[in-house]
Amino acid sequence: MSQPFRTEKGGRIDRAEQLTFTFDGEEMQGHKGDTLASALLANGVHLVGRSFKYHRPRGILTAGSEEPNALVGVYRNGDQTPNLRATQVELYRGLEAVSQNRFPSLGFDIGAVNDLLSPLFPAGFYYKTFMWPHAFWDRVYEPIIRSAAGLGKPPKNPDHDFYGNIYAHCDVLVVGSGPTGLAAALAAAETGAKVMLVDEQAEFGGSLLSEAGASIDGKDPAEFVAETIAKLAAMDNVTLLPRTTAFGYFAHNYISLAERVTEHLPTPDPKLPRERLWQVRAKEVVIAAGAIERPMVFPENDRPGILLADAGRTYLNRYGVKVGHKVLVATACDSAWQAAFDLADHGVDVAAIVDMRETPPESLMSIAEARGIRVEAGCVVTGTLGRKRVKGALLGRMMTSGQVASGGQIDCDALLMSGGWTPTVSLYSQSRGKVVWDADKGAYVPGRSVQKERSAGGAKGLYGLQATLEDGYAAGEEAAKTATGKSAKVTYVSASGGEAGSGGILGALPHDRNASRVKAFVDYQNDVTAKDVKLAVREGMQSIEHIKRYTTTGMATDQGRLSNMNALEIASGALQKPMTDVGLTTFRQPYTPTTFGLFAGISRGDFFDPVRKTPSHDWVVENGGVFEDVSQWKRAWYFPKSGEDMHAAVARECKTARESVGLFDASTLGKIEIVGPDAAEFLERMYTNPWKKLAPGRCRYGLLLNDAGFITDDGVIGRLAEDRFHVTTTTGGAPSVFATMEDYLQTEWPDLDVWITSTTEQFAVAAVQGPKAREVIAPFIEGLDLSADAFPHMSVKEATFCGVPCRLFRISFTGELGFEINVPRRHGKMMWETLAKEIEKHNGTVYGTETMHVLRAEKGYIIVGQDTDGTVTPQDAGMTWAIGKKKFDFVGKRGLARPDLVADGRKQLVGLLTKDPKVKLEEGAQITTAEQPATGTPAEGHVTSSYYSPALDRTIALAIVKNGHALEGKTLYVPMPTGSIPVEVTGTVFYDKEGARINV
């Protein structure tokens, strides 16, 4: 028989459909309906991984998403998805899975030597080991730790799957579809409320799918599930989402769901996403997440073959898999007994039930007796035997003294344990609710609701089939009524069997072994033992938050859902404080590990960030231009001719523009239209310069400050009419300038009659600069006298360009005769191609942003954000000429009078010329007064712009330097690794200082 641990009958698997899969290359069989974990167990495979730190052999511990050990990689299309929990991986034909964190093989792992060296890896080992010497970190510690510890390997290729995203609203969101969730969804749906029911598993039903010997409404629980789901599916107001994890509960009842759409399919439809992110706004939420079983903390509680009792029961009843042929059940509570009974009913040899309680309930004892099961009451497991598979357990007899006496040894090939149940309060905790300790239940349960939610059933510590069903109905009814105001008569059905029982234990269990030599695991995934928690307390950790970080307990992917309560009890004992005084860590989003792909959605590649292109884009591509990114814009950087590098191309472009003419795409500049009777008054208040007397048809350079007095933006502003201005801003500053204007207009000066509109995208702008600029544009402009007298520097007029209406500015960012032509954007390509052809006749050039930068630096024109950094005032920049002295107020005026802004010692904008004209400074380089400053000497300033200037045939630079304006002619130094560079402080204008070239 190929699956030696498969039961004869029963379970929800499709026995008719046999599926072949591989694990570490070995071919095995399973059935449709299996998880990878259940299929492996059916084949007798328990050893599925090596632990994180000690590389100890580990097996499947649970049957759910909290699984800490059985992390596997699954191959698809040649790529591996690491760290999937085998308990959640649905089996399909041809599934290819591998184990992780082992070398060279799962059976023989060299890293297991860590287990023997474990005294070297105590709690806080990361903090201790890597403290000293510092130099060891990069070369020794990190490479070793990185290769030895860890989980799966990340995939090497880009993710070839895609991910969907959907927004949804509902009245009632029900999370979990066990008895509570099903009842809640049904009750809410019957009122007509819009209901969403989600469950992380492939099949709805939760614990009902592994329930045996109980009945609901006289039916088998699984039948009840099928009928209820069919009823819900037929209702228009219900959305059913299986394979969907509610992983995040955020503010205002905003819940994120991860739906796994295709991962379970052997050949997914390529049109479907791998996963889909649901962003749900729910009026009310019912958290029916149930409870999970707690491991028992006894020595060697981590051997393969040791599982939680309820997981053993789930594998048996739901998947038709026996976890072993001879199974020992260790417990301190009633519920695990049912696992033993179910196993016995399937003919499995139950080695014994070992219950820590002196007198387990008589009702259970008699059932055990009827089945001939050996019971060891008042006994505890004190250790286990075997390495890659448990072979037996050591027993200890609990004595009244609290000591444990050796109680012999029992052979077994599997061990089921149960320390009791822990309500799943993760989502409640994420909703910012504070859990409260319930002494009767021995558990933390949800306290007051902070958001519009209620926990129901196991999630609030309520157990037993009848009780959880009832609680579910009530929660669903109440949620629907609160959300919609509607209610309906809901039929409650009753159940028999599936009683809750009692009992449970927290913390490390007593034993008679050498405490310093044994390992009893608290957190399996992070390899944290009871000893580690105690050590952390001995070393001074008092708060559970510190203990958590020092030991890493509760920091694995389950966030301590399995381990927290045991760790708390151990810490409380070591601290000699009541557990409730030790504190509790907070559960955070996401509930279970969530892929990056889900969050990224379609925001990858071209969709990662929008790309903004100017009308010349295609022409630039065709003509070999090189682009640079300026915020989201693609801007032409330079236009190399064949054989030219960047330096040569820029030098040629600069020279040509100054000697004849250059054409530049300035479309990215921000543009804002300011219109209304108070438009001039508004600008008067926003900008430092005076505007009221600016005549229509004229332009002015505008400087924008914030109210602190620092430069934030600049640009030329043209007055088109009494009540209409065309404002330009920097490329990157456009959105923030617009937002700032709106802010002042709406909230400080709502009395002003002004409209402001962003027009950046409305216009395409071509800058034609150089001595021949007028000749270049003249053939295309109509309706305007371009002569110097009629249209002098700093003019703006409306005209036509090739018959298209345009706004023509005579302005210059180069120091040459210059025009900027604004046409409606749809005509931008035509304008660019027309002008590009025309400049050729004049031996002109197109130029990019690099040449633009050089030309403006030669003239000392600043670039806000490059030559300023948010702490530069107009005085610092040598631009007091831009301030309207007689103005009553403008944004920043009062700020400029602050003592620190007028004090001596401010950093000021200057020019720098290196003594050696060939040496080009690094932008950002620090400036000092001493040639060889002592280490720790503060810099006097830094270089903000640095270029080779073709016009001067030497390098030039701008810098901000402490008291720079007073240092003109003085020598400073720019210390670099290759030596200190002497520089002379100069003015900021390097070329055509008198400005003659601009006024022609």
Binding site: H252, E742, D743, Q746, E748
Partner: protein, 101 residues
């Protein structure tokens, strides 16, 4: 993600449509030249950073573009009131009491 009501559009919309612009009811002095350095610094930089009930400026930046004010409990993130810019500052203590704080 917060759910925010725009008093101009009169609709509830997701936080992604809005931008928070800090503490509300800090008026720019009508004649800044008459303020002392301390008063100006207070206006520029000093904010209450309230833990609890606070009035904030919000802008429906990807909607109508209007600025408005909202009273929010900065601990629970619950909004207690939304109102248009220019309307007087509500009695925060009374709002808090009403909300059971």
């Amino acid at each position: 993600m917060l759910l925010i009501y725009c008093p101009y559009c009169q609709v509830e919309r997701a936080e992604t449509e809005f931008a928070c612009r800090g503490e509300a009811h800090i008026a720019r002095p009508a004649d800044p030249s008459q303020t002392t350095d301390e008063e100006w610094v207070e206006f520029l930089y000093m904010r209450d950073n309230t833990k609890g009930i606070a009035a904030e400026r919000w802008r429906h930046i990807h909607g109508c573009g209007r600025f408005f004010n909202a009273v929010r409990d900065t601990v629970s993130d619950n909004f207690l009131k939304f109102y248009k810019a220019g309307e007087p500052k509500p009695d925060l203590e009374a709002l808090a009491k009403e909300a059971g704080k």
